[in-house]
Symmetry: D2
Subunit: 307 residues, 4 copies
Amino acid sequence: MPTILGQNQYGKAENRVVRITRDGATHHIKDLNVSVALSGDMEEVHYSGSNANVLPTDTTKNTVYAFAKEYGIESAEQFGIHLARHFVTSQEPIKQARIRIEEYAWERIEASDANSKFIGADAVKHSFVRKGQETRVTQITFDGENWEVISGLKDLVVMNSTNSEFWGYVKDKYTTLKEAYDRILATQVSGRWRFNWSGDEQKMPNWEKSYDQVKKHMLQAFAETYSLSLQQTLYQMGARIINNRSEIDEVRFSLPNKHHFLVDLEPFGLENDNEVYFAADRPYGLIEATILRDGCEPRIPVDLTNL
Amino acid sequence: MPTILGQNQYGKAENRVVRITRDGATHHIKDLNVSVALSGDMEEVHYSGSNANVLPTDTTKNTVYAFAKEYGIESAEQFGIHLARHFVTSQEPIKQARIRIEEYAWERIEASDANSKFIGADAVKHSFVRKGQETRVTQITFDGENWEVISGLKDLVVMNSTNSEFWGYVKDKYTTLKEAYDRILATQVSGRWRFNWSGDEQKMPNWEKSYDQVKKHMLQAFAETYSLSLQQTLYQMGARIINNRSEIDEVRFSLPNKHHFLVDLEPFGLENDNEVYFAADRPYGLIEATILRDGCEPRIPVDLTNL
Amino acid sequence: MPTILGQNQYGKAENRVVRITRDGATHHIKDLNVSVALSGDMEEVHYSGSNANVLPTDTTKNTVYAFAKEYGIESAEQFGIHLARHFVTSQEPIKQARIRIEEYAWERIEASDANSKFIGADAVKHSFVRKGQETRVTQITFDGENWEVISGLKDLVVMNSTNSEFWGYVKDKYTTLKEAYDRILATQVSGRWRFNWSGDEQKMPNWEKSYDQVKKHMLQAFAETYSLSLQQTLYQMGARIINNRSEIDEVRFSLPNKHHFLVDLEPFGLENDNEVYFAADRPYGLIEATILRDGCEPRIPVDLTNL
Amino acid sequence: MPTILGQNQYGKAENRVVRITRDGATHHIKDLNVSVALSGDMEEVHYSGSNANVLPTDTTKNTVYAFAKEYGIESAEQFGIHLARHFVTSQEPIKQARIRIEEYAWERIEASDANSKFIGADAVKHSFVRKGQETRVTQITFDGENWEVISGLKDLVVMNSTNSEFWGYVKDKYTTLKEAYDRILATQVSGRWRFNWSGDEQKMPNWEKSYDQVKKHMLQAFAETYSLSLQQTLYQMGARIINNRSEIDEVRFSLPNKHHFLVDLEPFGLENDNEVYFAADRPYGLIEATILRDGCEPRIPVDLTNL
């Protein structure tokens, strides 16, 4: 046979699970999108169509919902660890499980004064509005021995309206760009960070606290870096995370430069003193890099995926 | 000639304008997407291609950017009023202008403690993160005499995890739905509200305050209504706005019922006590209605548009 | 009570139904997205939450699937007529039904020569590839007496690489555009056309043939019009339909001007003789108009919706 | 310094270039979306913000447009090869260039009979409608010595309405799926194939012909495989390509199982004899695998990207 099977994986993608936990009248919500990918001894299903080693993707979906009841959802990372361990340890042909999860954040709706007075603040402890900012993501991989947890976020849009310059670059025959000494710097952050936790005998990170702290440090680094290039800002964002969070060894960012072009108002007899900008869609600069704790190996793939 | 021209309009759509205002080191940002639609004596350009009455769409784009400098952007509504008045009063063939605006909200990034101490809180007064929740919208229409302002929002996702029932409905031969006495009620709010301000001699509403108050009342009505149907909740949301905001005479909502189905866990020997839900995409119930101040005429179109 | 209920409607939106018809080994496919909107005596469900007059949206979904079996899907229009008649005639409180349908076209996959020879051409008469061009749409409205059918399409992208000019327009203080004597004209057609069929006693149009013919005439008018403005082209497209298709009285188009800007290559010592263009996203000119058969009343709404 | 820089790259993404070639009255069109990613000696711009080694992303954009004039666009692959060679050979700090291109296909609009007769068939040789089916993609990578070309497509939706089964799979405590002996098999193909062409001294493949042939073989394998699992179909699609196209050594597919569930019509007293299906959105099975020419090394990444 002149062709052979290479890497392969399968599972149910985008299982939308919402878990409500009732603490008296106060409800809590976890809202996830869970994708399962399994691999192992799967040659036959590709070569002959025999499903003898294939746990149906429908079963992996059922398992997601059953586990939301059996284990609850403490955090996306912890939930993914339960799922990955189950698939690898319960099915002999399955040698590796990769669980990807998106999480959508919700905030509570505040009660009206009138309502609080008459029927008590508890009345709206079951009402939520979706926060709508970034989407939190995580990926858990388990091969029966080693764990890898890569968390992150996407679609977090940030802007500095000053403290950004761009000059001193290479000029070739196709260069027309003018140097800038005070420009808007804006990007839509897609970031992933890899934890150095690799197994059950180690103390597990506090996944919820870690996420909040990483996001805070990343935003502050973006805000506080006087930027001579988006690459410099990107590096500072990654370095700030690694320097402040000992549980993380590697960070990768994909940062589109959301160009805000100063509009030329001179034809209308007006001066544009860094006041009026055109927010462009395409094309956009795209800056991507990995920042590593010194001595660590890079393992986050170069291309960040959407799921 | 067997065919004639009916209603027509033209202009530049989706002009993305960002206006930065510097108050010392503290920057303020307005981030709009402005669409211009003009109509008037435009028969000839359709019949013969003569552009003698046509102000180019490119010029309407330039005007948006020039006005962002000349007038600033106090609010989306006020900015739209400047634009609409200009087109109708400066170009004889243009009899009506309709300005539609989307607005994206931004929040400030908080400074790190270390940074605040050493370089002062001002350091990050130019740094923002996009709020990412709903998109605020407005539509200004002016025909040279009368003004109509319809504001609103879209993509605001809300959920009550209890206090919702659905029973007592009609059952025909195609009905299989079981009655529900405790369900999740979730929707993605698209709403529009019409102001009774209709001209320059009237006191203009405080557009920014009005928006914040309308959103607050709408959210509270959603949270505080014990719901027997999404229609009932919708009506309460509209009535709460009209009862609390005298500047508004009409509200219309388009509310998709974002179904959260309780997952059947019995096959796995588990009981699902309103804990684990499947968040469905399609199909979805779609509930749409207008709520009017008694005695007022409806003028918001039945179909809400995306732009 | 200071607020009252205005126009309202409800139903299940985006029911994705695929109907396979087997003609021996040859299969046929109809692939629809059906949205139901019902209105009538629905005050109580809004005011008090009583569902006594409410046929559940879930039942309207079931009806779509049951009718796909009971009546088959001859055309989207015919299928919508069956549904609209059913809801209005079978439920006393329902006074009007509006059915909106999107249709996705499929083509057959051609058999390989080897396969045709050995196992016969029938082997692949059940294999399809989605055409992927425009989405066909229709809207059926029935109030118990009168029928209105508005069909159309969206997302059909067309381009003329020459035979388009734009000059002789109004110039004001914000005008900077240079006149063009040979430009690309491209647009993404969204069009709707209203049939004059209004009831069961009239001979029903051949919906499938009508659609094919309207699309053909529309494309040919786009291609064959030497254009001095997109408005002129739009009018020709509508007039060509009405002049050739007696079953149609009204057409409305929403045509974004998909700008293709000639790139300035002079800084690189190159001449751009209408060869290299930048295809822009936003902003875009937006040209919208209705074309009517003389003597007919316009009834297609000004804003075309997505569904 | 406790952090170091890992893999990094930058460039302008999504340059939308349309190239018109005039062959007398007959025009030809190439419509591309080109993304440039460069890497090399870029430590300083990350560490200190020095742009001394940085060719601006704006310049890479200009180069795309200039090359569309200088070299024309014979094929997306050939155009990417010109660009990659230029960046690596003309800028000392740049050690590797990766060019990604999306291509959108266009068809000619046919002239009307009347028009052909009176003004000749040439009249519409400049008029096009976007085909709208799959998006063709390619990725060219050059490090100064070796070339790698990976081409492919995305968003090609296919369906077999019979000749698909699924049974004989593993059943665990979470399995509820019933075996299927005649089901719809549908997927939205995302595929990539790697050419064994690796340098200028080799004869270059005919990129246009290769693409057409690969697509044809892939579709035929999908149509002609009697499927016991989507994995089996996927493998056949890949093997068919490799067996028929000697220029290709590796294929990878990401195939979402677009579930079409047979609707249960029994509650309505109807039998559903494989006629009426519900086309589901999420979740979906996701089947991914690489197929290799025996003896070749896999080099296509596991995760296919959107760009």
